[in-house]
Symmetry: C2
Subunit: 324 residues, 2 copies
């Protein structure tokens, strides 16, 4: 679906997905406010179904299908949160979901897709192989391809997160969302522009995957090249549907360094008692590194997800005596 | 304060502490429901101020004091969540807080008390030394001693957790709370009896610290002897104010084994994206080990706290390659 969605699409998405996703809580933390010199409101999409905001877009895409189209199932080539979310949404609707994954994909990602009832089709670990395989399966089965972000149904679904946030918290001066492919940021722009036009939307991006920042500077969409960041959800580049929002509707892109991402992630675990994945810590990390625009302001921070492998945390967790 | 509190005390506590504590969210999880064969509603006191329900009782005690009494400060000898909560409440009211701690207390606990603005007085690592030191400081300074559970103001404060839960979720068949000293369970009994008299209250206790279970069987309050459990918040014995609730008002005590506590804790981290401490996992562990009474029921589970040392998790977290 390649036309830009608007606020009516976001509102329709909200009605459509309401039975299938959580209205996630907004939490505050005095310690974080003191650190930031601002009043922070954390929208907890790590507590969302499937552990990430991606459940919103995937459910909107799946439940937008006619019964006839749905019968042929859905298809994607994202092995991350979107892939799992699509499988979740499809299972709820009782239709098949296929995820095309590189044959060297990590076992936990394969297990997660299967856990949500999805079918995995493996391919060679190249972008070309992935796209060819997805195209072939789509042609063979008639399954509807749902792109992780370059899809207006997905963008509209992700916009329901900010729609909720703006209803839950009055008078936000700014909202900060992480940017990878740009689906969440684009949906956030739509909701904020309609409901709170004076509120600024900032995108937060790892320095090691800074295509949004470079694209805005260049004035045209540049590809993501050789991303190097622990924030695995943000290694993708923008798409033709999300670039206009990123180029036109946001106040700016805040960059964050790897060590700040890890530190922010740990801070959220320790002080807020929330399990968040590295990508979800990028807005806080960026905001703490660039505090000036937010001083004394009311700032919404979208904690985008909590899907992290507890066996592979980025901070050292050496076993030691509990009372040591 | 040595008289048993009632529902009017719990309601008054709620008004009193409302500006100082969070109304914590209630979360659900389809995966947990499927595992349990029941509909579970998790009351997230790990997301409470200070990371534990103890903020409720401590705030109620501190804000119950007259200005004159408050001026002399407050005092306790708990170095755990209650000690930190009392320091938090005192700092909010702008009065001094003193925590008597054994000289061999872990450094992180001392740092936490100081972090909340409390003063530490060290003593020899015996119960007698702790009580003598607290009594001496109380006599010298006039500071009000606030016991972690054997105090009606504290019990009434803890009861506000169930009061909220019963307003947030209709038609609960049962509520399960962990039992250590019994303050949370006692407050829960008061709220449930008044608001939802058909709802059963169960206490959950580690097998390695089973004084509540043994006391009920014996028909009299037995001491906690040599507790051995990872659930460090539940190593204390009952008190004269909490034993009547435990003996009279609960449906029963559910015991849980150490390995089940660790497994339940990990399950909550992984599936619910919540950082909980071992004590907070005891109700789920006990419920999953004794599922029969809860089959198909609506069950409230109090996640009591999230204060766990990330450097000393009870499950193995060996660093390894993120894509391995």
């Amino acid at each position: 679906m390649k036309t830009a969605p608007d606020i009516s699409d976001v509102r329709a998405a909200r009605e459509r997905i309401m039975p299938h996703v959580h209205q996630t809580p907004v939490l505050t933390c005095g310690h974080m406010d003191a650190l930031a010199g601002a009043r922070l409101f954390f929208k907890c999409e790590n507590l969302q179904k499937v552990g990430a905001f991606k459940a919103r877009g995937a459910c909107n895409a799946v439940y937008s299908l006619t019964d006839e189209a749905a019968g042929a199932g859905v298809l994607t080539h994202s092995s991350g949160n979107h892939g799992q979310a699509l499988c979740y949404a499809a299972a709820r609707r009782g239709i098949p979901a296929t995820v095309v994954m590189p044959e060297n994909a990590p076992a936990p990602k394969k297990a997660a897709v299967r856990g949500y009832g999805g079918t995995i089709v493996e391919c060679a670990p190249t972008t070309a192989a992935r796209e060819e395989t997805a195209a072939r399966i789509g042609a063979e089965t008639g399954a509807e391809f749902v792109h992780p972000y370059n899809d207006s149904r997905v963008i509209a679904g992700q916009g329901t997160c900010a729609l909720e946030l703006l209803e839950q918290v009055d008078g936000l001066d700014a909202v900060i969302a992480p940017v990878g492919g740009g689906g969440l940021v684009s949906g956030t722009c739509i909701a904020v522009k309609a409901l709170a036009p004076d509120t600024l939307v900032h995108a937060a991006e790892p320095s090691g995957a800074d295509d949004a920042w470079r694209s805005r500077r260049a004035g045209r969409m540049l590809p993501q090249e050789d991303p190097r960041t622990i924030a695995d959800g943000l290694r993708t580049g923008l798409g033709e549907l999300t670039w206009p929002f990123v180029s036109r509707d946001i106040a700016g892109v805040l960059l964050s360094e790897e060590r700040d991402i890890v530190a922010a992630m740990r801070l959220i675990w320790e002080r807020m008692k929330l399990v968040v994945e590295p990508s979800a810590a990028v807005p806080l990390a960026a905001m703490l590194a660039h505090p000036e625009p937010f001083r004394e302001k009311r700032v919404g921070i979208i904690l985008s997800g909590g899907n992290v492998d507890l066996e592979a945390l980025p901070f050292s967790l050496a076993p030691r005596d509990r009372d040591g």
